[in-house]
Amino acid sequence: MRSWLKYVLIGLGIRLILAPFFMHAWDIGTILKASEQFLNGQDVYGYVAERTYMLRQSTSLPFYYYGFAYLPQTLFIFAPFYRLYTLIFPFENALDLQAAEPVILYPQIFVFLLLIKMPIILGDVAVIYLLSKREPKIGLFYALNPYVLLITAVWGHFDPLVGLFLLASYLCFNERKILSGFLYGLSLIKIYTIVLFPIFIARSLSCRKDFMRFILGLSIASLPVIYYLIVAPYSFLDAMIFQGVRPASGMNMYYIVSSPAPGIFFRTAITRIATFVFVTAILSLTYVVLRKRQPMLNCLVMLMLAFLIFAPVTNEQHLTALMPLALLSQRFNRKLCVFPILLALAFHSTYFYFAIVELNNLYTAMHGVWIEAIGPFSGHVRYLVSLSFAFLAFRNLHSHFQPQMPASSKRLEATQTTPYTVTTGSLFEVR
């Protein structure tokens, strides 16, 4: 059996086994709710805006409701699988995953979880294929990586899909500008990939035709956005603004602000500083990498690393969007994957909702013992892990500037800058 096929099957098998039993309850619940509303013809963004309004009315504080705040392309990816679920379970298919204490006693939840995670799992399979075709070891690493498995099969976040779209966009950038633009447009389902926009544009500008093709592809992928901008501009823009102004949190050095003084006004003030630092860092880095004519792969990896280090909100799952591209780059420090796992296991018991009650209870008890053990210093432990990630990622960002490379790597770099072509027979075949 060919090695890529073996790795694809291994990766697929593990993901299919894990997927039905776990979830990140809030985020899967968000996708469920949005898919349901979308299929019923309701305004997904209007619902989020309404909940935000109610929350603000009742508290007089500038909160945002943490609902569906992604580009509408996401709905086209997940809604068909939700529809399939409702076809299998036409009656009593309601699931309340966002309840304060969700009780996982729905018999149909296993099928639901498997189906709703299917696009992400298929995305992972495509990544394993693309990586294995270029370097079998990388493909195997991605297939078996516990961090990727946690995000894809356990939590069910769709950041790995973003990783696939970025990888595919990069691979066909030289030869198929329209397709590359289209795939980059799809990667914007998580808006943070906007940090790569100047790189794609700058690299397309050498030829006017190429630039127009890239923009055409991007525009085609953005048609749902244009639709929502016409039919529900205010609620849609509200949801997008939320992503830009949400208070600093997550797996970064700003986490500290939400630890001892968690108020929204305080966090908003710190978020403004964080946003300024983030924008400055991204603009400066973009300028430097373009000026130094860094290889495109390096540029993309470095900017995504800068996003992970400096963005006000960087959650555990965001690194998966970088992983496929970063693994192609020989300079990626794979130890970075350890920190999100540590944070997820140590501090997110509420997000580990097992569809097996006994397992859920056991985990909750173990987590309780752990929190009891670290007591009032849990914030410090978390800060320690977040800071380790920030410093290691910063060091890794530096390493992409290093000029010296062994001969074998130079050869590969040359291979990477050589266009990967798309043949009609098989997608992304390497010539």
Partner: protein
């Protein structure tokens, strides 16, 4: 250039780590991800108030003292629990719908009973002298307010040890209480706007844990102030200092490592295709 960028990064990280030491005054708030309820927080140089905290899981103003440097930390002062407060025997937590919101410098909570048109408001306002909690209604009501603490060492100068139940306190508009925390004795005062109809204390085996105030009328305010604190011990208890400490150690390690040429493990890929 590279060394300068490293230093700037370390300076940024270390600067941010001092943010927990910044004391911003006034009301603030946060909401859990489920957004089912909001928590209001008040902070100034001397006190810290939590209302409807997810960790407390009930509506109450829970008032803490904020000890200053070198004794920094939260000292539990008193909490006014809705679970133990009643209007005509109806529990404020169970039998009323409530909504809290900030109006200027005040947190105002509006209550409406589930069984009728009974309405009242509770406002929490911090003055220079202490915390003022006011109950107001458009009609006279029978109100019972309970103040909790584990434990008061004395109320009105008496620890009520061996006193037969019910433990009555002479109703008057000023009540004094004492408590101990980590070797210090604190003395507080409850100043009521009107004389209550009845005051009792409750105790368990360990000591006095509640003060119950009964009042009939349409307006009652309770000013909670700290009279004095006798300092019997000193210690540095600001664990927030650990954040800058961690960042400085990490930053120093990072810069130290950076002085030597670190080895980047370049993974040479074998292309067999």
């Amino acid at each position: 250039m590279r060394a300068l960028i490293d230093v700037l990064f370390v300076v940024l990280v270390v600067s941010l780590s001092f943010t927990p030491l910044i004391c911003l005054g006034g009301w603030d708030g946060y909401a859990p991800e489920s957004q089912s309820n909001a928590t209001f927080v008040y902070r100034n140089e001397t006190c810290y108030i939590l209302y409807s905290d997810e960790t407390i899981r009930t509506d109450k103003p829970h008032i803490f003292l904020l000890r200053e440097w070198p004794i920094r930390g939260l000292v539990d002062l008193v909490e006014l629990s809705d679970r133990q407060s009643f209007v005509y025997g109806l529990n404020l937590y169970e039998d009323f719908e409530s909504h809290g919101g900030l109006v200027g410098d005040e947190l105002i909570v509006s209550y409406e009973s589930n069984h009728g048109g009974l309405r009242l408001t509770k406002s929490i306002w911090v003055t220079g002298e202490g915390v003022l909690v006011t109950y107001g209604s458009d009609q006279p009501i029978e109100l019972r307010v309970t103040l909790w603490r584990w434990y008061f060492s004395a109320v009105d100068g008496c620890d009520y040890r061996g006193v037969p139940q019910p433990l009555r306190v002479e109703p008057k508009d000023t009540l004094r209480f004492e408590f101990e925390d980590e070797g210090q004795t604190y003395r507080g005062v409850l100043k009521l706007s009107n004389e209550p109809s009845n005051v009792q204390v409750g105790r368990d085996l360990n000591g006095i844990n509640k003060i119950l105030i009964d009042y009939v009328g349409s307006h009652l305010s309770i000013k909670i102030t700290l009279e004095s604190a006798s300092r019997s011990s000193f210690k540095i208890a600001n664990k927030n200092l650990l954040f800058p400490l961690i960042s400085i150690v990490f930053g120093a390690m990072y810069l130290k490592v950076g002085r030597y040429a670190f080895v980047v493990k370049i993974r040479s890929n074998r292309t067999g295709h």
